[in-house]
Amino acid sequence: MSEQKKYDKQYFLDLAARIYDLDVDVYETLGSSLGRVFGADRDRCVAELASLMRDVKGESEVRNSLALIGNMARTLPDGDDHFRLLTEYNAVLHELSQLPSGLASTDILDEKNARLNELHLENRFQPGQKLIICISRSCGAGASDIGFMLADRLKVDYYDAEIFAAVIRRLEAEQDGVADLFGGSAKQAGSIFERVRQRTTLREKLRQISRYHGLPARDAVFFSQSGLICDMAKRQDFVVMGRCADVVLANARVPHISIFITAPEDLRTRRVMAVNHIDEKKARAMIHRVDRVHAAYYRFYTGRKWGAAENYDLCFNSANYGIQGSIDFIMNTLRLDRFREAKRSAE
């Protein structure tokens, strides 16, 4: 099958249907009544999903949906169903990663530097301890893909935009134009600032005051997100992207690993251009804008300098390793294989 033929409309529809069916399968196998990732209207959901896969802007949404399904599947007790569903999940994930403009398709590897690295590893985690990895990143460094695949490698949950979605649901604030500062693709994050300005009536303003407990919407979302992160940290292992999670967990005295991933601006620009199909000028502008917003947000809520090495356990240049190499680097540096083995033996 030629590549052109393989990635036609039917291919995306079939892959979308597999994701949808996986969700249904996981949901039914779990016997949960708390809702699932996709709605009941299969045709519409599959068509939407296929459309998102064809559009680079939808990349993170598909990934987040798949991450949610994976998170649910991992909660299944060990056995045939667990194995069957995670095998299918891995297969779908592999398919997605093969897409020309899809997940992890555009690496950031600087091969010259990558050859120079040797990984020296230290034992970091005790078996049985909750593993929480907080990843911060500069725009275009490939950190979302690294985080997602790292979570998959560790068989732990991955949280990015879904944390925000949960908070929004909690605050019932979908209609208020509160935008996720960190979620979605770089392009989305770059185009959306803290809050979409809207004209609101007095009644609506009063409703917002009630909904956000008198706080600015951004602060209310931050507080709820922080609460959610701390709650999750008591129950499960996970990888979380951004959200000042490193400082939130440090303040709550929850052990975690904080990682900052960056790369030279030229390489990040190149990647953003490739992923978003935009010219260099726009890509650089987007990188600067997104980084500036992230830095201001981090500074406001933590008082720390975003990206400053002293604030993280591990800072590295993803261009020196590439996406897969970065995952290996994190796994090996933090001796996460031991954690994985301990988890596997515990299961």
Partner: protein, 448 residues
């Protein structure tokens, strides 16, 4: 009679103890504050004996206690009791924006139910909403600035000096002349407060503090709302005590307020008795008709009112010589310009009772013989002088903890509820840094 300045030594000594005691010998002060206060009060009276004579000193003490102190502490007690029975439930989270709204509401309310009433009513919601925060002393400081002082300038209900002015012929709504200075002060102080509060708010957030906003939406509930009736009752009683002495039914044959004679020159007037009776009845009714659970939720104790009652008995007695000096020399100070009146009234109101201070300078302004102005029983008082005296008396009570009745009460309630408040001089640093520049602005804009 020439009053020697050294008679003011006990007043200065008491102020020094209040300022330095909690800082230099806190443990001793905590245990022995009532004894120290009473000692200074006795010292003041003992020093007065050789100058005034035993009889006049006894009358001075009786007059101060019966007519000044009792009505002061009963009013404070009544409002403290009633406000303590009103609960605000809801999970509005104290943020700079919410605090600005609360301070603005409290400031405007002060002119309706008085600075003391508004302070007692608003202090607990402010403390509760900010309970998730660690750094909140500055909120209470601005609360004292705005709610406990500045806000009371718009009507005679707001602050006792203005009620005295009303009793002497200043029209009821004349005080609205002070709306522009109050608005300017409110805007400037809010503009100063916001970044300070934002700074401390962020500091708390950065250290991982966050309010509990887990409940979907905010539902505000007022418990014991019927107590608002008792607040109205208390405010009405306070106004009545000022208005009734002017009615013939409450006057004796000499035209003075009738009452029970306690000593030759000391009377407990019927209007004062009515005020006391009504306020105590309101307090009793409030306790009798409100679920004790409300007081538990409000962390209601007697400690704050007891502390204020003890401290102010000393302040009221020891400041009498200073007030006598003021009465003797206030009129001779040849103050004719609004800015002079503003600062003189204000500076003295910062430490002394602002009501007699106001009256001294109002009398001085009325005696200037100006051809035009507000017609009062003390003569025609030029509008700008009256504005300056009124603003000085009301605004500058915020300069110290003892400048106005609710100031110390707010401090005491705050400390009882886990808010770290600055010392006497620590508070003055805030007032010097934030208020004095605002008063300079007032002088340049309104009282030149």
């Amino acid at each position: 009679m020439n009053v020697p300045v050294w008679l003011c030594i006990p007043f200065a000594g008491l102020l020094a103890c209040v300022a330095l005691g909690p800082v230099l010998f806190s443990e001793w002060w905590e245990k022995n504050e009532p004894k120290a206060v009473i000692a200074w009060a006795c010292a003041a009276l003992a020093l007065c004996v050789p100058v005034l004579g035993a009889k006049q000193t006894a009358e001075l003490a009786a007059e101060t206690l019966l007519n000044d102190y009792v009505s002061f502490i009963v009013l404070l007690f009544g409002l403290y009791c009633v406000a303590g029975n009103i609960t605000f439930e809801g999970d509005l989270a104290g943020s700079p924006r919410v605090n600005i709204v609360l301070l603005t509401m409290g400031t405007l309310l002060s002119s309706v139910i008085g600075t003391t009433g508004s302070s007692m009513l608003m202090i607990r919601p402010v403390i509760k909403m900010n309970s998730w925060r660690r750094h909140k002393g500055h909120i209470m400081i601005f609360f004292i600035f705005l709610v406990s002082n500045l806000g009371g300038c718009l009507t005679p209900l707001g602050d006792p000096p203005l009620l005295m002015g009303f009793m002497r012929g200043v029209p009821f709504f004349w005080s609205l002349h002070l709306f522009a200075p109050m608005l300017l002060n409110m805007i400037v102080l809010s503009a100063v407060f916001y970044p300070i509060d934002l700074h401390y708010y962020r500091r708390d957030v950065m250290r991982g503090r966050r309010p509990d906003i887990s409940a979907p939406g905010t539902e505000l509930k007022v418990g014991g709302a019927h107590n608002l009736i008792f607040i109205v009752m208390i405010v009405s009683a306070a106004i009545a005590s000022g208005v009734l002495p002017n009615l013939s039914a409450f006057q004796d044959e000499t035209g003075a307020a009738a009452g029970i004679r306690v000593m030759e020159n000391v009377k407990l007037t019927y209007p004062a008795l009515i005020e006391i009776a009504v306020i105590l009845a309101a307090a009793w009714l409030s306790f009798a008709t409100t679920n004790p659970e409300n007081r538990r939720k409000n962390h209601f104790t007697w400690a704050s009112i007891r502390e204020v009652a003890v401290l102010f008995i000393g302040i009221f007695i020891t400041m009498q010589p200073a007030l006598m000096l003021l009465r003797e020399y206030g009129g001779k100070m040849a103050l004719t310009k609004p800015w002079e009146m503003f600062w003189a009234t204000g500076a003295l109101s910062s430490f002394l009772d602002n009501t007699p201070t106001y009256l001294v300078f109002l009398t001085a302004a009325g005696a200037l013989g100006e051809p035009a102005g507000v017609s009062t029983s003390l003569g025609l008082v030029p509008v700008r002088l009256l504005e300056a005296v009124s603003a000085g008396a009301v605004f500058m009570g915020a300069n110290t903890y003892i400048g106005n009745a609710p100031n110390f009460m707010v401090k005491s309630i705050s400390e009882e509820n886990g808010v770290s408040m600055p010392s006497f001089f620590g508070y003055m640093k805030w007032s010097l840094g934030c208020l004095v520049p605002v008063f300079l602005l007032d002088m340049l804009v309104f009282f030149r």
